[in-house]
Protein backbone atom coordinates (compact mmCIF):
# COMPACT_ATOMS: atom_id res chain seq x y z
CA UNK A 1 0.00 0.00 0.00
CA UNK A 2 1.80 3.11 -1.17
CA UNK A 3 1.56 6.48 0.51
CA UNK A 4 0.22 9.60 -1.18
CA UNK A 5 2.11 12.89 -1.03
CA UNK A 6 -0.34 14.12 1.60
CA UNK A 7 0.23 11.00 3.68
CA UNK A 8 3.99 11.35 3.38
CA UNK A 9 3.68 14.87 4.76
CA UNK A 10 1.26 13.88 7.52
CA UNK A 11 3.36 10.97 8.72
CA UNK A 12 6.76 12.57 8.19
CA UNK A 13 7.88 12.11 11.81
CA UNK A 14 7.17 8.39 11.59
CA UNK A 15 8.87 8.06 8.26
CA UNK A 16 11.90 9.86 9.72
CA UNK A 17 12.27 7.03 12.24
CA UNK A 18 14.55 4.42 10.73
CA UNK A 19 12.70 1.72 12.67
CA UNK A 20 9.41 2.62 10.96
CA UNK A 21 10.17 4.51 7.74
CA UNK A 22 7.88 4.50 4.71
CA UNK A 23 7.62 0.70 4.81
CA UNK A 24 6.36 0.75 8.40
CA UNK A 25 3.94 3.54 7.61
CA UNK A 26 2.58 1.49 4.71
CA UNK A 27 2.03 -1.39 7.13
CA UNK A 28 0.11 0.97 9.37
CA UNK A 29 -1.99 2.05 6.40
CA UNK A 30 -2.84 -1.59 5.68
CA UNK A 31 -3.60 -2.40 9.33
CA UNK A 32 -7.08 -3.18 10.62
CA UNK A 33 -7.56 -2.54 14.34
CA UNK A 34 -10.77 -2.87 16.34
CA UNK A 35 -11.19 -0.98 19.61
CA UNK A 36 -13.73 -2.58 21.94
CA UNK A 37 -15.08 -0.01 24.35
CA UNK A 38 -14.91 3.71 23.59
CA UNK A 39 -14.18 4.62 27.20
CA UNK A 40 -11.21 5.80 29.21
CA UNK A 41 -8.83 3.32 27.57
CA UNK A 42 -10.41 3.30 24.13
CA UNK A 43 -10.35 7.08 23.81
CA UNK A 44 -6.56 7.66 23.81
CA UNK A 45 -5.94 4.39 22.00
CA UNK A 46 -8.31 5.43 19.20
CA UNK A 47 -6.97 8.97 18.95
CA UNK A 48 -3.33 7.89 18.74
CA UNK A 49 -4.00 5.04 16.32
CA UNK A 50 -6.01 7.38 14.09
CA UNK A 51 -3.29 10.01 14.24
CA UNK A 52 -0.67 7.35 13.52
CA UNK A 53 -2.40 6.44 10.27
CA UNK A 54 -3.85 3.06 11.16
CA UNK A 55 -5.67 2.47 7.87
CA UNK A 56 -8.86 0.85 9.17
CA UNK A 57 -10.02 1.60 12.68
CA UNK A 58 -13.15 0.08 14.18
CA UNK A 59 -14.78 1.61 17.26
CA UNK A 60 -17.26 -0.65 19.03
CA UNK A 61 -19.45 0.45 21.94
CA UNK A 62 -23.17 0.09 22.68
CA UNK A 63 -23.35 2.97 25.14
CA UNK A 64 -24.03 6.69 24.91
CA UNK A 65 -21.81 9.54 26.09
CA UNK A 66 -22.55 10.52 29.70
CA UNK A 67 -21.46 13.77 31.33
CA UNK A 68 -19.44 11.77 33.90
CA UNK A 69 -17.41 10.24 31.04
CA UNK A 70 -15.79 13.55 30.09
CA UNK A 71 -13.44 13.55 33.10
CA UNK A 72 -11.29 10.94 31.28
CA UNK A 73 -12.81 9.93 27.93
CA UNK A 74 -10.99 12.47 25.77
CA UNK A 75 -12.57 11.23 22.57
CA UNK A 76 -15.73 13.17 23.41
CA UNK A 77 -16.73 16.73 24.23
CA UNK A 78 -19.65 18.34 26.01
CA UNK A 79 -21.67 18.65 22.81
CA UNK A 80 -21.54 14.88 22.43
CA UNK A 81 -23.35 14.06 25.67
CA UNK A 82 -26.21 11.58 25.06
CA UNK A 83 -24.95 10.66 21.60
CA UNK A 84 -23.97 7.05 20.76
CA UNK A 85 -20.28 6.74 21.62
CA UNK A 86 -19.27 4.86 18.48
CA UNK A 87 -20.92 7.50 16.30
CA UNK A 88 -19.61 10.57 18.16
CA UNK A 89 -16.16 9.04 18.55
CA UNK A 90 -16.05 8.01 14.91
CA UNK A 91 -16.74 11.58 13.81
CA UNK A 92 -13.93 12.88 16.03
CA UNK A 93 -11.49 10.36 14.57
CA UNK A 94 -12.54 11.15 11.02
CA UNK A 95 -11.97 14.85 11.70
CA UNK A 96 -8.54 14.09 13.15
CA UNK A 97 -7.48 12.01 10.18
CA UNK A 98 -9.59 11.92 7.00
CA UNK A 99 -7.01 9.66 5.32
CA UNK A 100 -8.16 6.57 7.23
CA UNK A 101 -11.33 4.49 7.28
CA UNK A 102 -13.38 4.61 10.48
CA UNK A 103 -16.01 1.95 11.21
CA UNK A 104 -18.43 2.86 14.01
CA UNK A 105 -20.14 -0.18 15.55
CA UNK A 106 -22.94 0.60 18.01
CA UNK A 107 -23.15 -2.91 19.33
CA UNK A 108 -23.04 -4.86 22.59
CA UNK A 109 -20.50 -7.64 22.21
CA UNK A 110 -22.02 -11.08 22.76
CA UNK A 111 -21.08 -14.64 21.91
CA UNK A 112 -23.59 -14.55 19.07
CA UNK A 113 -21.99 -11.55 17.32
CA UNK A 114 -18.33 -11.63 18.35
CA UNK A 115 -17.13 -13.66 15.35
CA UNK A 116 -18.70 -11.24 12.87
CA UNK A 117 -17.53 -8.22 14.89
CA UNK A 118 -13.89 -9.35 14.77
CA UNK A 119 -13.89 -10.78 11.25
CA UNK A 120 -12.58 -7.71 9.43
CA UNK A 121 -9.79 -6.91 11.90
CA UNK A 122 -6.35 -8.30 12.74
CA UNK A 123 -5.67 -6.63 16.10
CA UNK A 124 -8.13 -6.01 18.92
CA UNK A 125 -7.78 -3.43 21.70
CA UNK A 126 -9.64 -4.38 24.88
CA UNK A 127 -10.93 -1.28 26.63
CA UNK A 128 -14.10 -2.79 28.05
CA UNK A 129 -15.33 -2.28 31.59
CA UNK A 130 -16.74 -5.73 32.33
CA UNK A 131 -14.93 -8.95 33.14
CA UNK A 132 -17.56 -10.97 31.28
CA UNK A 133 -16.71 -9.11 28.06
CA UNK A 134 -12.98 -9.45 28.73
CA UNK A 135 -13.27 -13.24 28.88
CA UNK A 136 -15.55 -13.38 25.84
CA UNK A 137 -13.11 -11.24 23.88
CA UNK A 138 -10.07 -13.24 25.00
CA UNK A 139 -11.67 -16.53 24.04
CA UNK A 140 -12.74 -15.18 20.64
CA UNK A 141 -9.27 -13.79 19.92
CA UNK A 142 -7.64 -17.14 20.79
CA UNK A 143 -10.16 -19.11 18.72
CA UNK A 144 -10.04 -16.79 15.71
CA UNK A 145 -6.32 -16.02 15.83
CA UNK A 146 -6.46 -12.29 16.59
CA UNK A 147 -3.82 -10.38 18.53
CA UNK A 148 -5.29 -8.78 21.66
CA UNK A 149 -3.87 -5.79 23.50
CA UNK A 150 -5.59 -5.68 26.86
CA UNK A 151 -5.55 -3.13 29.66
CA UNK A 152 -7.65 -2.56 32.76
CA UNK A 153 -7.82 0.13 35.42
CA UNK A 154 -9.02 0.64 38.99
CA UNK A 155 -8.72 3.86 41.01
CA UNK A 156 -4.97 4.71 40.63
CA UNK A 157 -3.75 1.36 39.27
CA UNK A 158 -3.58 -0.19 35.82
CA UNK A 159 -2.55 -3.42 34.11
CA UNK A 160 -1.42 -4.09 30.56
CA UNK A 161 -0.56 -7.21 28.59
CA UNK A 162 -0.42 -8.26 24.93
CA UNK A 163 -1.75 -11.64 23.87
CA UNK A 164 -0.84 -13.19 20.53
CA UNK A 165 -2.31 -16.66 19.96
CA UNK A 166 0.29 -19.45 20.09
CA UNK A 167 3.05 -17.01 21.01
CA UNK A 168 2.41 -16.79 24.75
CA UNK A 169 -0.24 -16.93 27.44
CA UNK A 170 -3.78 -15.62 27.05
CA UNK A 171 -5.92 -13.65 29.51
CA UNK A 172 -7.32 -16.88 30.96
CA UNK A 173 -3.75 -18.07 31.60
CA UNK A 174 -3.30 -14.94 33.69
CA UNK A 175 -6.68 -15.03 35.43
CA UNK A 176 -8.44 -18.35 34.73
CA UNK A 177 -11.81 -17.16 35.92
CA UNK A 178 -13.46 -13.99 37.15
CA UNK A 179 -16.89 -12.59 37.67
CA UNK A 180 -18.23 -9.06 37.59
CA UNK A 181 -19.00 -7.85 41.08
CA UNK A 182 -15.83 -9.26 42.69
CA UNK A 183 -14.14 -5.91 42.14
CA UNK A 184 -15.83 -2.53 42.17
CA UNK A 185 -16.19 -0.82 38.79
CA UNK A 186 -14.76 2.62 38.03
CA UNK A 187 -18.25 4.07 38.54
CA UNK A 188 -18.33 2.55 42.00
CA UNK A 189 -14.72 2.91 43.16
CA UNK A 190 -13.69 6.00 41.19
CA UNK A 191 -10.74 6.39 38.83
CA UNK A 192 -8.10 9.03 38.31
CA UNK A 193 -9.01 10.65 35.01
CA UNK A 194 -5.53 10.59 33.53
CA UNK A 195 -4.92 6.92 34.47
CA UNK A 196 -6.62 5.41 31.39
CA UNK A 197 -4.76 8.02 29.34
CA UNK A 198 -1.50 6.33 30.32
CA UNK A 199 -2.74 2.76 29.82
CA UNK A 200 -4.69 3.48 26.62
CA UNK A 201 -1.67 5.19 25.11
CA UNK A 202 0.44 2.15 25.96
CA UNK A 203 -2.15 -0.04 24.23
CA UNK A 204 -1.81 2.07 21.08
CA UNK A 205 1.98 1.73 21.36
CA UNK A 206 1.71 -2.05 21.55
CA UNK A 207 -0.61 -2.14 18.52
CA UNK A 208 1.79 0.00 16.47
CA UNK A 209 4.69 -2.31 17.45
CA UNK A 210 2.74 -5.39 16.41
CA UNK A 211 1.80 -3.80 13.08
CA UNK A 212 5.23 -2.52 12.19
CA UNK A 213 7.18 -5.39 13.73
CA UNK A 214 9.48 -3.12 15.73
CA UNK A 215 10.47 -3.59 19.36
CA UNK A 216 9.49 -6.33 21.76
CA UNK A 217 5.76 -6.70 22.39
CA UNK A 218 4.45 -7.24 25.90
CA UNK A 219 3.77 -10.95 25.34
CA UNK A 220 4.03 -13.09 28.48
CA UNK A 221 4.79 -10.01 30.56
CA UNK A 222 2.22 -8.35 32.78
CA UNK A 223 2.92 -4.66 33.23
CA UNK A 224 1.37 -2.95 36.23
CA UNK A 225 1.27 0.77 36.89
CA UNK A 226 0.63 2.50 40.19
CA UNK A 227 0.05 6.20 39.59
CA UNK A 228 0.29 7.16 43.27
CA UNK A 229 3.73 5.62 43.71
CA UNK A 230 4.60 6.35 40.04
CA UNK A 231 5.78 2.78 39.79
CA UNK A 232 5.79 0.44 36.80
CA UNK A 233 6.45 -3.25 37.44
CA UNK A 234 6.71 -6.28 35.22
CA UNK A 235 5.85 -9.90 35.95
CA UNK A 236 6.54 -12.98 33.85
CA UNK A 237 3.41 -14.98 33.05
CA UNK A 238 3.50 -18.40 31.39
CA UNK A 239 0.95 -20.19 29.24
CA UNK A 240 -1.00 -22.65 31.36
CA UNK A 241 -1.17 -26.14 29.96
CA UNK A 242 -4.55 -26.49 31.67
CA UNK A 243 -5.91 -23.20 30.28
CA UNK A 244 -9.58 -23.63 29.34
CA UNK A 245 -9.16 -21.96 25.95
CA UNK A 246 -5.48 -22.11 24.86
CA UNK A 247 -4.32 -25.12 26.91
CA UNK A 248 -3.48 -28.62 25.76
CA UNK A 249 -7.06 -29.86 26.11
CA UNK A 250 -9.29 -26.79 25.90
CA UNK A 251 -12.85 -27.01 27.17
CA UNK A 252 -13.85 -23.75 25.48
CA UNK A 253 -14.07 -24.34 21.74
CA UNK A 254 -16.44 -21.54 20.85
CA UNK A 255 -17.15 -18.14 22.42
CA UNK A 256 -19.80 -18.20 25.11
CA UNK A 257 -21.53 -15.64 27.27
CA UNK A 258 -20.84 -15.86 30.96
CA UNK A 259 -23.62 -17.55 32.89
CA UNK A 260 -24.91 -14.98 35.40
CA UNK A 261 -25.23 -17.65 38.14
CA UNK A 262 -23.52 -20.89 37.14
CA UNK A 263 -24.10 -24.14 39.01
CA UNK A 264 -21.92 -24.28 42.08
CA UNK A 265 -21.75 -20.51 42.38
CA UNK A 266 -23.01 -19.56 45.82
CA UNK A 267 -24.76 -16.53 44.32
CA UNK A 268 -27.21 -19.03 42.77
CA UNK A 269 -29.10 -19.19 46.10
CA UNK A 270 -29.58 -15.46 46.35
CA UNK A 271 -33.02 -13.84 46.40
CA UNK A 272 -33.21 -11.17 43.72
CA UNK A 273 -35.31 -8.12 44.52
CA UNK A 274 -36.29 -5.39 42.10
CA UNK A 275 -36.63 -1.86 43.46
CA UNK A 276 -40.41 -2.36 43.47
CA UNK A 277 -40.05 -5.68 45.33
CA UNK A 278 -37.99 -3.98 48.02
CA UNK A 279 -40.48 -1.13 48.32
CA UNK A 280 -43.26 -3.66 48.95
CA UNK A 281 -41.13 -5.55 51.43
CA UNK A 282 -40.39 -2.37 53.38
CA UNK A 283 -44.10 -1.62 53.67
CA UNK A 284 -44.83 -4.92 55.41
CA UNK A 285 -41.61 -5.79 57.25
CA UNK A 286 -38.39 -4.25 58.44
CA UNK A 287 -35.68 -6.33 56.77
CA UNK A 288 -32.03 -5.80 57.65
CA UNK A 289 -30.64 -3.55 54.93
CA UNK A 290 -26.87 -3.75 54.48
CA UNK A 291 -25.33 -1.07 52.28
CA UNK A 292 -21.92 -2.28 51.04
CA UNK A 293 -20.80 0.85 49.21
CA UNK A 294 -17.79 3.01 50.03
CA UNK A 295 -18.13 5.64 52.80
CA UNK A 296 -18.37 8.59 50.40
CA UNK A 297 -21.19 6.91 48.53
CA UNK A 298 -23.08 6.15 51.74
CA UNK A 299 -22.62 9.73 52.92
CA UNK A 300 -24.16 11.12 49.71
CA UNK A 301 -27.42 9.29 50.31
CA UNK A 302 -28.77 5.96 51.57
CA UNK A 303 -31.97 4.16 52.49
CA UNK A 304 -33.35 4.94 55.94
CA UNK A 305 -32.14 2.46 58.55
CA UNK A 306 -29.53 0.86 56.31
CA UNK A 307 -26.49 -0.54 58.11
CA UNK A 308 -23.23 0.46 56.44
CA UNK A 309 -20.60 -2.24 55.94
CA UNK A 310 -18.30 -1.51 52.97
CA UNK A 311 -17.70 -4.62 50.88
CA UNK A 312 -14.01 -4.59 51.75
CA UNK A 313 -14.85 -4.89 55.44
CA UNK A 314 -17.62 -7.44 55.05
CA UNK A 315 -15.54 -10.65 55.44
CA UNK A 316 -14.45 -9.64 58.93
CA UNK A 317 -17.81 -8.11 59.89
CA UNK A 318 -20.14 -10.90 58.77
CA UNK A 319 -20.60 -11.83 62.43
CA UNK A 320 -22.58 -8.59 62.83
CA UNK A 321 -25.33 -10.10 60.66
CA UNK A 322 -27.51 -12.69 62.43
CA UNK A 323 -27.63 -16.01 60.56
CA UNK A 324 -31.43 -15.82 60.25
CA UNK A 325 -31.72 -12.11 59.41
CA UNK A 326 -32.35 -12.67 55.66
CA UNK A 327 -30.48 -9.43 54.93
CA UNK A 328 -30.94 -7.33 51.82
CA UNK A 329 -27.59 -6.22 50.40
CA UNK A 330 -27.47 -2.90 48.59
CA UNK A 331 -24.92 -1.08 46.45
CA UNK A 332 -24.91 1.38 43.58
CA UNK A 333 -25.75 -0.91 40.66
CA UNK A 334 -26.15 -4.42 42.08
CA UNK A 335 -22.68 -5.87 41.42
CA UNK A 336 -20.99 -5.45 44.78
CA UNK A 337 -24.16 -6.41 46.62
CA UNK A 338 -24.30 -9.68 44.68
CA UNK A 339 -20.74 -10.42 45.75
CA UNK A 340 -21.80 -9.61 49.32
CA UNK A 341 -24.68 -12.09 49.02
CA UNK A 342 -22.23 -14.80 47.94
CA UNK A 343 -20.00 -14.05 50.94
CA UNK A 344 -23.02 -14.16 53.26
CA UNK A 345 -24.17 -17.51 51.86
CA UNK A 346 -20.67 -18.94 52.25
CA UNK A 347 -20.70 -17.78 55.88
CA UNK A 348 -23.97 -19.60 56.57
CA UNK A 349 -26.29 -16.58 56.52
CA UNK A 350 -29.62 -17.84 55.22
CA UNK A 351 -31.52 -16.33 52.32
CA UNK A 352 -29.62 -13.14 51.55
CA UNK A 353 -31.24 -10.86 48.99
CA UNK A 354 -29.74 -8.62 46.35
CA UNK A 355 -31.25 -5.31 45.25
CA UNK A 356 -31.06 -5.76 41.49
CA UNK A 357 -29.86 -2.63 39.75
CA UNK A 358 -28.88 -1.20 43.12
CA UNK A 359 -29.77 2.27 44.34
CA UNK A 360 -29.63 3.54 40.77
CA UNK A 361 -32.72 1.43 40.08
CA UNK A 362 -34.28 2.59 43.36
CA UNK A 363 -33.75 6.24 42.41
CA UNK A 364 -35.10 5.60 38.94
CA UNK A 365 -38.16 3.55 39.88
CA UNK A 366 -39.09 4.47 43.46
CA UNK A 367 -37.50 7.63 44.85
CA UNK A 368 -35.91 10.12 42.42
CA UNK A 369 -34.90 12.34 45.35
CA UNK A 370 -32.34 9.80 46.60
CA UNK A 371 -28.82 11.08 45.81
CA UNK A 372 -26.72 8.21 44.42
CA UNK A 373 -22.98 8.97 44.26
Amino acid sequence: MTLSATERARYHRHIALAEIGAAGQEKLKAARVLIIGAGGLGSPAALYLAAAGCGTLGLLDFDRVDLSNLQRQVLFDSAGVARPKAEAGGERLAALNPEIRINAHTLELKAANVRAALADYDIVIDGTDRLATRYLLNDACVLYGKALVSAAIHRFEGQLMTYVPHQGPCYRCLFPQGRDGIVATCAEAGVLGVLPGVLGTLQATEAIKLITGVGEPLIGRLLTYDALDMRFQEFRVSRRRDCAVCGDAPSITEPRDQDPAPAGDPSGGVRRLSAGDLQELLQTRAPLLVDVREPYEFAAGHLAGARHIPLGELPRRLAEIPKDAAPVFICRSGGRSLAACAMALAAGIASPANLEGGLQAWAREVDPTLAVA
Binding site: G37, G39, G40, L41, G42, D126, G127, T128, D129, R130, L131, R134, A151, A152, I153, H154, R155, F156, E157, G158, Q159, L174, F175, P176, Q177, G178, R179, D180, I182, V183, A184, T185, C186, A189, V191, P196, L222, T224, D226, L228, D229, Q233, E234, F235, R236, V237, S238, E294, P310, L311, G312, E313, L314, P315, R316, R317, A346
Partner: protein, 88 residues
Amino acid sequence: MSCTIRIASPLRSYTAGAASVAGSGATLSAVLAHLEAHYPGIRFRMIDEQERIRPHMRLFVNASEACELTAAVRDGDTVHVICALSGG
Protein backbone atom coordinates in the same frame (compact mmCIF):
# COMPACT_ATOMS: atom_id res chain seq x y z
CA MET B 1 11.96 -13.52 57.47
CA SER B 2 10.70 -10.01 56.84
CA CYS B 3 9.27 -9.02 53.51
CA THR B 4 7.18 -6.34 51.85
CA ILE B 5 3.70 -7.05 50.55
CA ARG B 6 2.31 -4.96 47.71
CA ILE B 7 -1.46 -4.89 47.98
CA ALA B 8 -3.72 -4.84 44.91
CA SER B 9 -5.79 -1.67 44.62
CA PRO B 10 -9.17 -3.41 45.23
CA LEU B 11 -7.90 -4.88 48.52
CA ARG B 12 -6.50 -1.69 50.01
CA SER B 13 -9.67 -1.09 51.97
CA TYR B 14 -8.29 -3.78 54.31
CA THR B 15 -4.97 -1.98 54.80
CA ALA B 16 -6.40 1.50 55.40
CA GLY B 17 -5.37 2.44 51.88
CA ALA B 18 -1.74 1.35 52.23
CA ALA B 19 -0.22 0.09 48.97
CA SER B 20 2.64 -1.67 50.79
CA VAL B 21 2.68 -3.32 54.19
CA ALA B 22 5.35 -5.16 56.14
CA GLY B 23 5.15 -8.95 56.11
CA SER B 24 6.77 -11.87 57.85
CA GLY B 25 7.13 -15.58 57.11
CA ALA B 26 9.32 -18.12 55.33
CA THR B 27 6.57 -19.30 52.99
CA LEU B 28 3.74 -17.61 51.17
CA SER B 29 1.33 -19.41 53.47
CA ALA B 30 3.06 -18.00 56.55
CA VAL B 31 3.21 -14.51 55.05
CA LEU B 32 -0.53 -14.58 54.33
CA ALA B 33 -1.29 -15.85 57.84
CA HIS B 34 0.72 -12.94 59.27
CA LEU B 35 -1.06 -10.53 56.93
CA GLU B 36 -4.45 -11.90 58.01
CA ALA B 37 -3.54 -11.41 61.66
CA HIS B 38 -2.95 -7.72 61.03
CA TYR B 39 -5.67 -7.12 58.43
CA PRO B 40 -8.53 -9.54 59.18
CA GLY B 41 -10.53 -10.72 56.19
CA ILE B 42 -7.95 -9.95 53.50
CA ARG B 43 -6.77 -13.56 53.07
CA PHE B 44 -10.29 -14.72 52.23
CA ARG B 45 -10.26 -12.40 49.23
CA MET B 46 -7.16 -14.18 47.87
CA ILE B 47 -7.48 -17.78 49.03
CA ASP B 48 -10.64 -19.91 48.82
CA GLU B 49 -12.01 -22.47 51.26
CA GLN B 50 -9.97 -25.21 49.55
CA GLU B 51 -6.74 -23.30 50.17
CA ARG B 52 -6.36 -22.46 46.48
CA ILE B 53 -5.39 -19.08 45.12
CA ARG B 54 -8.61 -17.60 43.74
CA PRO B 55 -8.74 -17.67 39.92
CA HIS B 56 -8.99 -13.89 39.61
CA MET B 57 -5.93 -13.37 41.82
CA ARG B 58 -2.21 -13.92 41.15
CA LEU B 59 0.60 -13.89 43.64
CA PHE B 60 4.22 -13.19 42.79
CA VAL B 61 7.35 -13.35 44.93
CA ASN B 62 9.49 -10.60 43.44
CA ALA B 63 8.95 -11.08 39.67
CA SER B 64 8.32 -14.83 39.87
CA GLU B 65 4.86 -16.29 39.92
CA ALA B 66 3.93 -18.26 43.04
CA CYS B 67 1.38 -20.95 42.16
CA GLU B 68 1.47 -22.72 45.52
CA LEU B 69 1.21 -21.44 49.07
CA THR B 70 4.33 -23.45 49.89
CA ALA B 71 6.45 -21.05 47.79
CA ALA B 72 9.51 -19.83 49.71
CA VAL B 73 9.81 -16.21 50.79
CA ARG B 74 13.25 -14.91 51.70
CA ASP B 75 14.38 -11.98 53.77
CA GLY B 76 13.91 -8.78 51.79
CA ASP B 77 11.56 -10.29 49.19
CA THR B 78 8.48 -8.50 47.93
CA VAL B 79 5.21 -10.40 47.64
CA HIS B 80 2.92 -8.89 45.02
CA VAL B 81 -0.82 -9.43 45.21
CA ILE B 82 -2.35 -8.88 41.77
CA CYS B 83 -6.10 -8.84 41.14
CA ALA B 84 -8.05 -8.95 37.86
CA LEU B 85 -9.33 -5.46 37.16
CA SER B 86 -12.38 -4.76 35.04
CA GLY B 87 -12.29 -1.01 34.58
CA GLY B 88 -11.89 0.52 31.16
